[in-house]
């Protein structure tokens, strides 16, 4: 017992003595996002992506002669926790952040980073305001914002599906109602206001959706646009199929999740969802192989976006020669870099250029990318 205690003490001394010395030699990058809770499946792939990129870079000698150290903090997708997460990352001395994941949590965190002049690159937060409002010069992202997704949906509904009567329903949430409203505005602006027969919100998690389904049927809509996540969508699609309605069902990236197909089963067939295009270049293939080799499974949601965000950040630090805020943001905006999602740079707002969105259709139990 005595020896043990001594050993622990000695170890602690060595650890404490070596820690500050070690820290001076590394570049610290924070990883913020949902690493636990319901939405962990959206956040954990980011951790894995950053680890794989950094591992490889460290093995090749690091960056600017220093090793890279990742500091991970969980926000559970909750804004109130995200503020703590952000403060914790700042106090632990990170020089830039990859994350956060959910729009709500990201919104809470980026203001805090802004105060400390920290660059923050999100692989998945899509709320248009973050970049378009110009309030957050420290914010960048490797995913298309909701306006672009709504554009794609409105265009697809009008031109590909040739919809005559459109019902737009949403879950009244920030994400769901947000994107549904933008789709509605896009369709109205295109001059097809008359085609929208229903625009309503439903209660998320309701016992059943019979009434709204009956209403859509009564209005004889041929296309339903859904704003929200997959859990409600699979219930609604089930009731639509029970009523034997022949309608197109189309949703945003909150719908494009494997869980949707697992839960809705055969009823999911023929449902459309938009989302980031599936990367096809050699870097994407390499990133996928790295993941399969280490974890024995296909990468999860936003993995390629996070992988690309990490590559872009490291590239910018290398080009800027430091992690100084002004130099780093300038490098992010001026330098382009090859990533799994394409050759990307960031525009003046902080949105990645050179990335694309696609429409997917469920065919035989899989999301199949629709080539235009």
């Amino acid at each position: 017992m005595k020896i043990n205690r001594k050993a622990v003490f000695a170890f602690a001394c060595i650890f404490m003595a070596s820690a500050p010395a070690f820290a001076a030699e590394t570049i610290k990058i924070g990883i913020g996002g949902a690493h636990s809770g319901d939405l962990a499946s959206y956040g954990l792939p980011t951790v894995k992506a950053a680890e794989l990129v950094v591992e490889e870079r460290n093995a090749a000698g690091g960056i600017l002669g220093k090793q890279i150290e990742l500091i991970k903090e969980d926000d559970a997708c909750k804004p109130e926790i995200a503020t703590n997460t952000a403060t914790k990352l700042i106090t632990s001395g990170v020089q830039a952040v990859i994350g956060h994941i959910c729009s709500g949590a990201t919104k809470a965190a980026i203001g805090i980073y802004k105060g400390s002049n920290l660059v923050c690159i999100s692989p998945s937060a899509t709320a248009p305001d973050f970049t378009l409002s110009g309030d957050y010069p420290n914010f960048f992202r490797t995913i298309s914002h909701d306006f672009l997704q709504a554009d794609l949906q409105a265009d697809f509904v009008l031109n590909n599906l040739k919809a005559q009567k459109i019902a737009i329903i949403h879950d009244k949430g920030e994400y769901g109602k947000g994107i549904a409203t933008i789709v509605k505005e896009k369709i109205e602006k295109a001059g097809f206001k008359d085609k929208i027969v229903v625009f309503e919100g439903v209660t998320s998690g309701a016992v059943d959706y019979a009434a709204i389904v009956q209403k859509i049927k009564h209005e004889k809509a041929d296309t339903i646009v859904w704003g929200g996540y997959h859990a409600d969508a699979s219930k609604i699609i089930k009731q639509i199929r029970q009523k034997k309605m022949q309608v197109n069902f189309i949703g945003p990236d909150g719908l494009k999740d494997e869980t949707f197909i697992q839960v809705a089963g055969a009823d999911a067939e023929g449902v459309y969802a938009s989302g980031p295009s599936t990367p096809k270049n050699s870097l994407a293939e390499k990133a996928r192989e790295q993941h399969i080799k280490k974890y024995g499974e296909e990468p999860g949601a936003f993995y390629y976006q996070a992988y690309s965000a990490t590559l872009a950040l490291l590239n910018a630090i290398q080009k800027a020669g430091s992690t100084d805020f002004a130099a780093l943001t300038k490098a992010l905006k001026s330098e382009s870099v090859d990533t799994p999602i394409g050759k990307i740079s960031f525009d003046k707002n902080g949105d990645a250029t050179g990335i694309s969105l696609s429409m997917y259709k469920v065919e035989k139990g899989k999301f199949v990318e629709q080539v235009k």
């Binding site: 809770g37 319901d38 329903i169 009244k172 309503e200 919100g201 439903v202 209660t203 998690g205 309701a206 016992v207 059943d208 019979a210 009434a211 709204i212 009956q214 209403k215 049927k217 009564h218 997959h230 859990a231 699979s234 219930k235 089930k238 009731q239 029970q242 009523k243 034997k244 869980t259 697992q262 839960v263 809705a264 089963g265 009823d267």
Partner: protein
Amino acid sequence: MSFEYFFELFLGGLSRGSIYALIALGYTMVYGIIELINFAHGEIYMIGAFTALIIAGILTFLGLNHFAVFVISILAAVIWASAYGFTIEKIAYKPLRKAPRLSPLISAIGMSIFLQNYVLIAQTDKYLPFPSVIPEFEFWEPYSHIIGSVELVILVLTAVIMTALTFLIKFTKIGKAMRATAQDRTMAMLLGVSVNKIISFTFILGSFLAAVGGVLVASQMGQINFGIGFMAGIKAFTSAVLGGIGSIPGAVLGAIVLGLTESFATGYISSDYQDVFAFALLILILIFRPSGLLGRATTQKV
């Protein structure tokens, strides 16, 4: 405003109302007997659905036919959920029977949160696909689109259960004992009614009904997760209050009124206002009839 549309909304509201009624009966019977709002009742509904999912999975794997799977999984759900109802009463409410009325209420809320988290940890936090155990069949042509087989099965099964329940309460010995206990617990005890057994039986009966509701809804919706009991519980509780809590026909009436209100509010106005109308109705009724539609003003016991 075609009649057909009206009729369709009516049937949709009726089938949803009957589900609410199945759950609301549990609230109202427990309240009638021990004046406790059993907030863990929604979780019994959820546990019923989970049990049916597991059993239906096993039976389908063994290759039983559709009807057998439907019957056996409902039976299993009912038995397991009743066991939960019975145990909850013994653990969380019985020791508090003489405590101030707030204590068992808090205990009930605690039980509800406990059960949700228990299922979350013991099972999963994900949405699970639920097999459609309700037998599906086609109606003859002009009517096939107005009502689906699933809705019809829900309506018929609920009606049968309600009739049986009414018979049980009105004409059997145990029903008589339940009514006596509800009226005056001490007096019933003095006259030889085993009050503890009656209370246990009430919890079992309420859990039975909630489990049937859980299986029917899960089968209609095709998915479950640990949180489904919350919304169903709130709606059923509202129905029970609307109809006059403590009154059995009141719970059924309240549930159907609530189901129809939601259906028509969505159909003719907007689903944005579905809950607004449902709860506005509740407030209005409580203002003009504080004891609910069929409730009786209780005299204070001295």
